[in-house]
């Protein structure tokens, strides 16, 4: 791939554009992680997304960690619900993002986007002192991933077409559905970019 001239279709001739939903949460960490994951792709950009117009030319969108009740409310306030629910690129959702992309959640305060058919439970681990780092085996990765769960959700049921890539006793913590991936933990924290690369490869990027 390093010998690609950039003029053929062997890989994308132009850089890719990734957005990070920038309403609340660890937006900067997502931007930094994707910039690093795309460092070998000249012309790629990673931009914050705050308005529907920012979604137009994106190849993919990250929905960050944060408070799902707050982000859900701001999605509504900013007129982003329909544009996000109809977004056609890939979605990389972490923690609160995993709650938002589901189609069902155990909390009426959150309006989910319905992008991945699954039921999600918020705060499935308890209080912050129960937040944890653990070594996680994820389908498709040769070595375990150091996963940081912070007041994390889990998926409790999945619909058809949803692939479970990792599961722990509390529930399902990594899923793939078409171009979308959702994580109960935070691959954007801790500097291991293997899951970002897996996601980009899944998009053919």
């Amino acid at each position: 791939m390093s010998t690609c001239s950039g003029k053929t279709r062997c890989c994308r001739p132009v850089g890719v554009k990734i957005g990070v939903l920038a309403l609340q949460g660890d937006v900067a960490e997502h931007i930094t992680a994707f910039r690093e994951a795309l460092a070998d792709r000249p012309g790629s950009t990673v931009v914050p997304v705050r308005h529907a117009a920012d979604l137009g030319d994106l190849d993919a969108l990250a929905i960050p960690g944060g408070e799902s009740t707050t982000i859900s409310r701001l999605i509504g306030k900013n007129g982003l619900y329909e544009p996000l629910a109809g977004f056609e690129g890939g979605i990389f959702a972490t923690c609160a993002g995993m709650v938002l992309v589901a189609d069902r959640v155990d909390d009426p305060r959150v309006r989910t986007l319905g992008l991945i058919p699954m039921h999600v439970a918020r705060n499935a681990f308890g209080r912050q002192v129960d937040s944890r780092e653990t070594s996680l085996n994820i389908a498709g990765l040769a070595d375990p991933f150091r996963a940081v769960f912070i007041r994390a959700p889990v998926a409790t049921e999945i619909g058809s077409g949803v692939e479970v890539l990792a599961r722990i006793p509390e529930g399902i913590v990594v899923v793939r559905h078409g171009r979308h991936m959702a994580f109960a933990f935070h691959p954007e924290l801790g500097g291991d970019l293997r899951l970002h690369r897996t996601f980009l490869e899944g998009l053919g990027i």
Binding site: L23, D26, G66, R127, E133, R151
Partner: protein
């Protein structure tokens, strides 16, 4: 690569928790009803208190950790994180808050200090801590003690943003002043501000504090909140400003939106309309020396 199986309360988890609060508003509440209103308005977390700072100021006497009953009532009312305040140096109050299931402990100058020499050794806890700071040296001393989040102190319970501005400018300016310094100069600066050299060097490299930095202490209006965000805050704490205003619900929603759109004056203007009276507020220059909270802890 040998990975440990399961770990709690690591630096990454504590600082990560604080990162998830960024771009948010953390609101002081004194009962379940206020906590629900804050959550409904879009708060990212609530601070569970027995009294808001303006009332602590008015009541006088020794201000202590809230009644655990009160804290549990608030924890049970909301799904967002709940924070609680412990006195500076009072590590047993912090242990109690941790045992109650509080998501973050604020070692706070708003309460009467329990130790005039030492802050809590926050590295000994699984629960993350936020601490107040007035300048870069103070912020880095707190981080060195294990704080996972900093908030500028401002002057709590005044509804007057002037001290919050002073402290945010001091921290942001203190970091900007590091750029261009060589290693020896950074070490020299670390000595001047009584902070660990390694943390000063880290600030210089990152161009920011190594942890999330919120603003606190005097924010009363959406404009105040947007001002602090434009000055570089990662988010804001609003104490008395919401429930001492004439319309707490509208004020809470407006401040959440002002933080979200802090760089869009048209939206800040729109959300500021018709909110009624903001909290009355105090001139900080009229406070007696013993009424000033920000000088507690250094």
């Amino acid at each position: 690569m040998k990975l440990e199986e399961l770990r709690f309360g690591t630096e990454l988890i504590k600082r990560g928790f604080a990162s998830m609060q960024k771009g948010g508003v953390i609101m002081d509440v004194v009962n379940a009803e206020q906590a629900e209103l804050a959550e409904e308005a879009g708060a990212v977390a609530v601070m569970a208190l027995e009294r808001v700072p303006a009332d602590i100021r008015a009541a006088g006497g020794v201000a202590r950790m809230a009644d655990p009953q009160k804290i549990v009532e608030i924890i049970d009312a909301v799904s967002i994180p709940v924070m609680g305040k412990a006195r500076i140096g009072h590590f047993v109050e912090a242990q109690i808050l941790e045992a109650l299931g509080v998501d973050m402990v604020d070692e706070s100058e708003v309460l009467t200090p329990a130790d005039e020499q030492f802050h809590i050794d926050k590295t000994r806890f699984s629960v993350p801590f936020v601490c107040g700071a007035r300048n870069l040296g103070e912020a880095l001393r707190r981080i060195d003690e294990g704080a996972a989040m900093i908030r500028t102190k401002g002057e709590a319970g005044t509804g007057n943003v002037v001290e919050a501005v002073r402290h945010m400018r001091a921290i942001m300016g203190g970091i900007r002043a590091l750029s261009g310094m060589d290693n020896q100069e950074l070490v020299d600066r670390a000595r001047d501000i009584e902070a660990p050299a390694a943390l000063v060097i880290e600030c210089a490299q990152r161009g920011r504090l190594p942890v999330v930095n919120f603003s606190a202490g005097g924010i009363a209006t959406p404009a105040d909140a947007a001002l602090m965000m434009q000055l570089g805050a990662d988010g804001v704490f609003v104490g008395s400003g919401i429930f001492k205003s004439s319309n707490p619900e509208a004020t809470a929603r407006a401040i959440v939106e002002a933080v979200n759109h802090y760089d869009d004056p048209k939206i800040v203007a729109e959300v500021s309309k018709g909110l009624g009276e903001a909290m009355k507020g105090l001139d900080v220059h009229m406070l007696r020396e013993d009424e000033v909270l920000q000088t507690r802890g250094r």
